[in-house]
């Protein structure tokens, strides 16, 4: 809706009172013709974040974070360890394990027999990146990706680990990365939230780890920075649809009357919050048309839909969410995070990981390709990964064809692409067991610092004073990994 129309609407509301507009609600008018962010701050009617300007020139304006909840097995996907073939069913040497702590799911095991990956690996693209046969589509875009094989964390269980990588602390209570970015950088569009979360269906291990709203929550930051879930069932945004029988014109009448009375209240009381509220109702009204338009794929070309694969037509699949993510990014949503669960493959890993890879492979590759085709990849950062890795040793029964893997925090693989990331490289190295890092470790705080850096944010300077302390996403840690930046 254009500003002129907004102004006319305001005039209409004035007519409601049947009196002159002179001097009434000037501030309200200003807030309407200068429409603000989705989540307007309570006092400052600005879309900009608290930083105002980025700390330095950003390489990326937007982020899409493909979160593999449950922790994918790095050595079955990307961290190729051919030497392990000869180690089948032999014990993990103590020199490798170094006595470090294990989860109590396997700490009682008498043996830690090596389970080599049963999947075939090949090198792809000019970069020659090793990718397993489980991800053929992803392999085809290897030259666009930067594989980081040396990510590590301290947490060994899902709840603390996923909370850690998303918020910088293992215990609940801190803001999520998307919330920090919304808080720091504000929003870049007027009809949609700055931070959107998408949940995907999955076919890997049925019994899946939980997610928690804190993963896209705001902790102590104002709640308007929370990620908004776009849902594949019911209203895409909670409470978006008018009740049955109430169409847009009826809602408009109600909103005109509402604004008229609220403006009058402002005139009487003078509380600037009232103007913000009037503007927020107008924003809600705009969302009622912008969000359904966003969710409607009918304007996508046949080629595009085919690139994302057949599942793209089923709302809620990972493929459909990848396309939806592109549409969100196109509309300048700052931070999109897609969650898919089902990676927690303690047993029957080969069967479940194959299904799980089928869920994600085509969609994620199409997303990167699609962004690239549209020139969006240049300033959009794509991130792929889970909360930790998995063990080379087997959990439960071991055969060449079937095995399981426990949680492994000491190394795991993530990949990134786009905005400011060197394409076609592999960074960091693990030992032949994919157990310890031997080169260029990247702690999850370093990862998060690097993500913020690409968005023009100095992770040490984006802080929030709470309980007397300046909190930040990276706690008191984090070093930007300059080696992987363009």
């Amino acid at each position: 809706m254009d500003p002129l129309r907004e102004y006319e609407l305001l005039q209409t509301r004035r007519h409601f009172f049947g009196r002159s507009a002179g001097g009434i609600g000037a501030a309200a008018l200003a807030s309407l013709v200068n429409p603000q962010a989705f989540a307007a701050p309570s006092t400052a009617a600005e879309g900009a974040g608290v930083m105002g300007e980025p700390h330095f020139a950003p390489k990326a304006k937007r982020v899409v974070y493909l979160f593999m909840s449950g922790a994918p097995s790095q050595m079955d996907l990307f961290d190729y360890k051919p030497e392990m073939d000869e180690w089948f069913d032999k014990d993990l040497p103590d020199s490798i394990r170094q006595g470090q702590r294990l989860t109590t799911m396997t700490s009682g095991q008498k043996r830690f027999p090596i389970a080599p990956s049963k999947f075939k690996f090949a090198q792809h693209g000019q970069s020659g990146a090793w990718v397993s046969e489980l991800m053929p589509y992803t392999a085809s875009i290897a030259d666009d990706l930067c594989f980081v094989k040396s990510v590590h964390t301290e947490a060994i269980n899902h709840d603390p680990a996923i909370t850690y990588i998303q918020t910088g602390a293992q215990r609940p209570g801190r803001p999520s990365m998307g919330a920090w970015l919304s808080y720091g950088l504000g929003t870049m569009n007027r009809d949609l939230p700055a931070f959107v979360v998408l949940h995907s269906t999955w076919t890997g291990r049925k019994s899946a780890q939980a997610l928690y709203e804190r993963l896209w929550g705001t902790g102590f930051l104002p709640s308007r920075h929370a990620g908004v879930s776009l849902r594949s069932q019911g209203d895409p945004v909670l409470f978006l649809s008018n009740p049955p029988g109430v169409d847009r014109s009826a809602r408009r009448q109600m909103l005109d009357a509402l604004a008229a009375i609220n403006e009058r209240t402002y005139e009487q009381i003078g509380d600037p919050e009232i103007n913000t509220r009037i503007a927020q109702y107008e924003m809600a009204y705009r969302m009622q048309s912008s969000v359904p338009e966003l969710m409607d794929f009918s304007d996508e070309s046949k080629e595009t839909l085919e690139m994302y694969g057949p599942e793209v037509s089923t709302p809620g699949t990972f493929s459909a969410n990848c396309l939806l993510a592109r549409r969100l990014l196109e509309r300048n949503v700052r931070f999109v995070q897609i969650f898919i669960r089902g990676w927690d493959q303690h047993g029957s890993l080969p069967r479940d990981i194959a299904n799980q890879c089928r869920d994600v492979d085509q969609g994620q590759a199409a997303l990167v390709r699609d962004l690239k085709q549209r020139g969006l990849l240049e300033d959009t950062l794509v991130i792929w990964g889970g909360e930790f890795g998995r063990t080379i040793y087997c959990q439960g029964g071991l055969t060449r064809e079937n095995y399981g893997r426990d949680h492994h925090p000491r190394c795991f693989t993530m990949w990134m692409a786009g905005g400011g990331i060197k394409p076609g490289i592999t960074y960091g190295k693990t030992d032949e067991f994919s157990y310890n890092i031997v080169e260029n470790p990247v702690h999850i705080h370093d990862l998060n610092a690097t993500i913020l850096h690409n968005l023009g944010v100095d992770h040490k300077r984006l802080t929030y004073r709470f309980q007397g302390r300046d909190f930040r996403l990276t706690d008191v840690h984090g070093n930007v990994v300059h080696d992987i930046l363009t």
Binding site: S223, V246, N262, Y281
Partner: protein
């Protein structure tokens, strides 16, 4: 160290300091000589820019310099001093903060800290000039009761509060607003004290009451309302981090609501707050603790817990204890104690060692770190209602009565063992028939081929009335699993079955299969056509040729040969064949092992048969271990009683009904016990667990053991209290404690005025905000103590003040001077909290169900909220909405799943309750607009509000519009407002009368299972009801409706 505690000096300095900090605008008379106040002016600079490396934390201290104590600041640093009192030129500190050389400059240019501003440097310079005096941080000095400021030229004050408020207002160049209108006032105070708006009758009564104490009467009435306790509790739930789920990983349900009920009772009965505090922190340790006091101690159990597979218990034991200490710090002391878990506190005088000394008060509760994903991880207490207690006593008495009847009956039995005199007895194997005319109890019949077929004579039948018959082309079979009680295998047992092969159509093979959990126990006769198991082994044992056709033949299989060992239990049996027609009948076991329900005439034989009696009650088993001759009288009695009650056929008719009655009563008792509410409580270990300083807060890096002790900045434990949780709680509420009362009144103040006197109500430490009204804070704190921690009294005093009663209108001038209304020259105005907005909508629409207390309820919530995040095995993975009256309870009873809280609450800034929150954000978002416009709860409330308007609002449109407007906003509409809503009503009438189907759809979408009068519906009136529904929807969305003004 010179410590000043009087406020008058500080307040003076404060006024000056603010001007100076604002950048030397020249308003101060003579800034160069104005006295500098350490607390207000100097410490914030040092704390923000220096303490990180030169503060209390010893581990991270650089260059051996600490600036948080006078001794540290003036220590000899090898020929120079950081701070030379009275001599800026000799003070290294000043030189370094202004140094041109980046290597010398402090804070270092490459640190997280910016260069000091010239104004800050100037403050430091003048502070040194004036003697560089240190003061203890104000919050660590116990409050002293200040004199009331004198009020001149004003009759504004209503009570003591206003003396303090008026003086600060005048210092700021502000003057108080006039008193709010009576309509505004009754709405404000009713919302504040009960969380609901006033009714029209209440408003009218107040308007009509001209007596001078009319307002006070309203306040007194509200404080007596049960809604008051609910509302007070609702705030406390954030602080206590109350939830209905565990909050981590599976996030399964937890039963804590009796604690919530206790809070409501405590607030409503005006339990003194010191008592409430002691009971919540240590109710379990009070002498002769009552159930209520134990329930209160659930406060320490409200933290989130996990049972995630693979978790290390010790790690979570530490996290939970840290949470307890942090929560106590935030809620009762306004301190960020958690900072000291990993290192000495960077700003406040709490060392890491002191943190673990506090930790030691809270680390010895008996709850296990892994909660088992249970509803009631121990320790728990039962909280029966009086009726339940009575019922339980009744049942217990009845059971006792049956027991004694039974005892008498058994005693009266003259039983002599038929083998009593035999020298020895031997047990003969007997035949136990398991399958005859029907399958055994519990068995689920299944088959390959046609269903089970029972036939009677003239078909071949061997025993009883029926046999089973099967005709098959190739493999065919009928079988069952799940039989209960199972067939118990003993030593040397034989399994048998009777078979008749049709001479006209004989099979080529027959097979019996036995299931003890697996089917790998098979025996076959005839050709080896069925290839299950391994031929020649117990999984497919050859038994020879087929039996002769045309006659009943008994087949027998040695249990041992098909791999069935003594003690194994069969739950399934299969009759299998290859081709032909086969009849089966009478099958079972030849055994010495008593099968369930098998009677014995002889106790000696029975004992021989049951051996160790593994399935018998423990006391009976114990006696069986003793040779009969060695048993004492009691032991003989035990086993004889069991035998006569359960085994001996001779008196079965007489005993069985009594046993049945007792079983029924016991089942009733169990059901009752299950239904009695239970709640998590605190319980102390007999021997406290040793606490250690944990290096960097890591659970596995224990260093020195520590004893319980309170931090040295505070007074020690009061005389005569124990050094445990209870003593700690008594220490908190001791009048000498500098923080407890201040923090408590400040949090209440924040509720009424929107912001606390100390804005950072969670942090009174060095980094927290300075109080806007330090003397008022101390007066209120001392007053709270003086009145014996009278909670209602303090609420009343605050709402009776003139400050509270002001109009909230704001002038441009006042807005410019004091945008946040910290100096209270106008009445409070801010958005209502999530729960109050929903409750008010339910209340004005007439839907609110005012039942007090009880388990949480699940009102409307969009589908998929829990499902999107829930662990698949969690009992909160799927949301099942409640029905009927449970949809309309007050929001404080809404089920709180902590990993996915109700969206209509979190959209309005309700916290997740994963950790303690004492100050909610107040945002203003389009999500809130959408919620109020479209959430089913609000649409339904709109519809019921509409019906209420039509029912009760008079007969003309205008009467009804006025009635509706008053219900929503508590005031009369002005003429122009009436025009607006009248116009909307007309528009909506036009809209819906042209679209009756739309009207029907709107009303249908907001239907409920309410009393019949709510559902009476004349479809011809749908458009009218729909139009009023939209009008009601408008009213529920008004800024004024969702604000306190």
């Amino acid at each position: 160290m010179r410590l000043t505690a009087g406020w008058s000096l500080k307040v003076h300095a404060l006024a000056m300091g603010v001007v100076l900090l604002a950048g030397g605008t020249g308003k101060a008379a003579d800034p160069a000589t104005a006295p500098i106040d350490f607390t207000q002016d100097v410490r914030p600079i040092l704390s923000n820019s220096c303490f990180q490396c030169h503060g209390p934390d010893e581990a991270s201290r650089e260059a051996d310099l600490r600036l948080d104590t006078p001794d540290g600041a003036t220590a000899d640093l090898g020929g120079h001093l950081a701070v030379a009192p009275g001599d800026p030129a000799k003070s290294e500190l000043l030189r370094r903060v202004t140094a041109g050389d980046p290597d010398e400059l402090m804070p270092p240019p490459d640190s997280d800290y910016g260069r000091l501003t010239p104004e800050q440097v100037d403050i430091l310079r003048r502070w040194i000039e004036q003697g560089a005096e240190y003061e203890q941080h104000w919050a660590f000095i116990a409050p002293e009761r200040p004199e009331l400021p004198e009020v001149k030229d004003s009759d504004w004050p209503q009570n003591e509060i206003d003396h303090f408020v008026l003086r600060r207002m005048r210092e700021k160049g502000l003057a108080p607003n006039s008193e709010a209108s009576k309509e505004t006032l009754i709405r404000r105070v009713t919302l504040d004290l009960t969380g609901l708006p006033p009714t029209i009758e209440e408003i009218d009564a107040f308007l009509a009451d001209d007596s001078p104490d009319a307002y006070e009467k309203v306040v007194d009435r509200l404080l007596q309302s049960p809604r008051y306790g609910e509302h007070m509790t609702r705030y406390w739930l954030d602080a206590a981090r109350y939830g209905d789920t565990h909050g981590l990983h599976l996030d399964n349900m937890r039963s804590m609501w009796p604690y919530r009920d206790w809070l409501i009772r405590a607030f409503n009965s005006n339990r003194p707050f010191d008592q409430m505090t002691i009971e919540q922190l240590a109710g379990d340790l009070l002498p002769e603790a009552t159930t209520d006091q134990k329930v209160a101690s659930g406060f320490n159990r409200c933290h989130v817990t996990t049972s995630e597979g693979g978790s290390i218990a010790e790690e979570f034991y530490v996290r939970y204890t840290v949470d307890r200490v942090e929560t106590v710090g935030t809620v009762f002391m306004g301190l960020t104690l958690g900072c000291a878990a990993c290192h000495d506190h960077k700003f406040d005088p709490v060392s890491q060692k002191e943190f673990y000394q506090l930790f030691a008060y809270f680390n010895s509760l008996t709850d296990k770190p892994m909660d088992g994903n249970a509803l009631l991880p121990p320790p728990v207490v039962e909280v029966p209602t009086p009726e339940q207690s009575e019922q339980r006593t009744n049942l217990q008495q009845q059971i006792a009565a049956v027991n004694s009847q039974l005892k008498e009956a058994i005693a009266a039995i003259e039983y002599t063992d038929p083998h009593a005199d035999a020298e020895s007895v031997e047990l003969e194997p007997t035949e136990f028939v398991w399958i005859d005319d029907a399958v055994p109890s519990g068995a689920q019949p299944q088959q390959s081929g046609h269903p089970w077929e029972f036939v009677s004579a003239p078909e071949p039948v061997f025993s009883g009335e029926k046999a089973t018959r099967r005709t098959a082309e190739e493999m065919g079979q009928h079988f069952f699993t799940g039989a209960n009680p199972p067939l118990v295998i003993g030593d040397g047992d034989k399994l048998f079955a009777s078979v008749y092969l049709d001479p006209e159509n004989p099979p080529t093979e027959i097979m019996l299969q036995f299931n003890d959990g697996s089917w790998n126990h098979r025996a076959y006769w005839g050709k080896n056509a069925i290839d299950w198991g391994q031929d020649g082994k117990e999984s497919r044992l050859p038994m020879g040729d087929l039996p002769p056709v045309g006659q009943w033949v008994r087949l027998e299989v040695d249990a041992a040969k098909v791999g069935l060992k003594p003690g194994m239990k069969l739950n399934g049996w299969a009759f299998t064949q290859w081709g032909g027609r086969v009849y089966w009948d009478r099958a079972g076991i030849v055994t010495r092992t008593p099968q369930n329900g098998q009677p014995f005439e002889s106790q000696r034989l029975w004992e021989l048969a049951i051996g160790e009696g593994k399935d018998l009650p423990k006391p009976v088993q114990d006696v069986l271990k003793i040779a009969p001759a060695d048993r004492n009288e009691k032991q003989q009695e035990t086993i004889r009683t069991y035998f006569l009650e359960r085994v001996y056929p001779g008196t079965k008719e007489q005993v069985a009904p009594m046993l049945a009655e007792r079983e029924q009563l016991q089942a009733d008792l169990k059901a009752l016990n299950d239904a009695i509410p239970k709640t998590l409580v605190s319980e102390e270990m007999k021997e406290p667990k040793t606490a250690y300083v944990l290096d960097r807060g890591e659970y596995d890096r224990k260093t020195d053991p520590v004893e319980r002790q309170v931090p040295s900045v505070f007074p020690g434990l009061p005389e005569g209290v124990s050094n445990d949780r209870l003593g700690f709680a008594r220490w908190l509420v001791d009048p000498s404690h500098p923080l407890m009362a201040r923090v408590t009144v400040n949090r209440w103040w924040q509720r009424y005025f929107g912001t606390g006197i100390v804005k950072t109500s969670e942090d009174f430490g060095v980094q927290g905000d300075f109080p806007t009204h330090p003397e008022l804070l101390d007066w209120l704190a001392t007053e709270l103590i003086r009145t014996g921690w009278d909670v209602k009294g303090m609420q009343k005093r605050i709402v009776m003040s003139a400050a509270y009663r002001q109009d909230s209108k704001v002038s441009d001038e006042a807005l410019a001077i004091d945008p946040e209304n910290r100096y209270l020259s106008r009445g409070p105005r801010f958005r209502l909290e999530a729960e109050t907005i929903r409750d008010a909508a339910l209340f004005v629409s007439g839907l609110l169900n005012e039942k007090v207390g009880g388990p949480s309820v699940k009102p409307y919530q969009p589908s998929g909220i829990w499902e999107a995040v829930g662990y698949t095995g969690s009992n909160t993975a799927n949301f099942t909405q409640d029905d009927g009256q449970k949809l309309y309870r007050r929001s404080m009873y809404t089920f709180w799943k902590r990993t996915a809280p109700p969206p209509s609450m979190s959209n309005f800034d309700a916290p997740s309750r994963e950790s303690c929150t004492v100050r909610r954000a107040r945002t203003n978002t389009p999500m809130q607009a959408l919620t109020l416009m479209n959430d089913k709860q609000f649409v339904e409330a709109s519809r019921h509000f509409a019906q209420r308007i039509l029912r009760e609002g008079g007969t003309t449109d205008d009467d009804r519009l006025v009635f509706a407007f008053r219900l929503a906003t508590s005031r009369m509409p002005e003429a122009d407002e009436l025009n607006v809503i009248r116009q909307l009503l007309q528009q909506q009438r036009t809209y819906f009368s042209g679209k009756p189907e739309a009207a029907k759809a709107l009303i249908d979408s907001a239907t409920t299972q309410l009393e019949p009068q709510h559902l009476e519906r004349d479809h011809n009136r749908d458009p009218e009801v729909a139009a009023w529904t939209m009008l009601a929807n408008l009213l529920l969305n008004l800024d004024e409706t969702i604000n306190k003004s």
